[in-house]
Symmetry: C2
Subunit: 217 residues, 2 copies
């Protein structure tokens, strides 16, 4: 990939997104951006800060607020779209519905679509996973299957690639997926350097999945 | 710990904090808060959003913006203070200087001080690590030692506890530290449940440290 052409990355956020689904991959990209030009657009329905807190969990639940850079309506052209999961994917908030519509609209022009955890459920609802292999969070895997049976859901995987779509299992699997994606796009050395910088020993085998056993899949 | 007494957690943010240093531990606490009452204060020098981007790295560097809930001056009483690291710790930004002063001021009333990565450098500069065992990021370990030789810096550790101070090695070590801390404070079962929910296989041995070898420590 030409060093002079920034890869244009976007992330879709909605209330109740899982913070680490977003910030595992984003922090790998933050480190990547110190050597390879990237642009990042943080997208949501409005420019108001987006909370990782959801009304569906306990009333005590805490969360953090992230500032979008663009709305879905004002998003620049993107090469990569990152879609986190979280309890919020199960609410029909305007931002969740907008995320599904945005995936549907932008997928044809993306170089890569990357989802983490139940983010693949939103990609499934957008129809872009039909007939494709994909994975998701293992604790709610049956829920994902029921959401869109047209998807070839893979129960045992840390992450799955099918064409230009990369789907990770739950939460921290997004870090391993992102390092594998960096290895493919920017080379193994760059991925290893990022892993060493964040002191992470990645699962480099995409089929490694103790959580498939744990949840009886 | 009584279920009815919320543990009051604060996190100190400054420009150029490492996003995953903050969001690894925070996401564990987000999940914990669905079963155990917690309050979270996101602290910085002003209420303006705090960026994880730093001017010290490449001009291309990307980052994300987090909204504080309080300034250091308006922070409520805290039981736990979490201090991330990042390239920003090496800049003398007002928020970094305020973080050091805040650690110094609040440490005597804290139940726990938790640092990730070079966040321990800020705790060291605050003087609260003098004569204590602590660890830090392994890539810049010698820099940390030089910052405050009065600290008993431990070169080989995923994390270190000394009294009520918990210090993690680089970035993702913060996740393992936080799960170990949850196990101590809320019990092993709750820590395991969180690890399973975020699909993380934690390093439960605090002395596990392949990065000490990698960086020749």
């Amino acid at each position: 990939m030409a060093e002079s052409t920034p890869l244009r990355v976007g992330i879709a956020l909605f209330p109740g997104f899982q913070a680490l689904d977003a910030f595992g991959p984003l922090d790998c990209l933050n480190v990547l951006s110190t050597t390879h030009p990237l642009t990042l657009s943080v997208l949501s329905s409005t420019l108001d800060p987006v909370t990782s807190k959801t009304s569906m969990t306990s009333p005590h639940a805490i969360g953090q607020q992230i500032v979008p850079t663009h709305t879905f309506a004002t998003a620049p052209p993107l090469d990569v779209l990152l879609v986190p999961g979280g309890v919020g994917t199960r609410e029909s908030s305007p931002a969740v519905l907008d995320t599904i519509a945005f995936i549907q609209k932008t997928y044809p022009s993306l170089k890569y679509l990357i989802t983490v955890c139940t983010g693949s459920g939103l990609a499934a609802l957008a129809g872009v996973l039909d007939g494709r292999k994909a994975t998701s969070n293992k604790m709610v895997f049956h829920e994902m299957k029921a959401l869109r049976p047209q998807v070839d859901w893979v129960p045992r995987a840390r992450w799955v690639t099918d064409g230009n779509i990369w789907t990770a299992s739950g939460v921290t699997a997004g870090i391993d997926l992102t390092l594998a994606w960096v290895a493919e796009v920017y080379g193994k050395d760059r991925a290893t350097a990022i892993a060493n910088e964040i002191e992470h020993t990645p699962h480099s085998d995409a089929s490694h999945d103790p959580f498939a056993d744990l949840y009886g899949l």
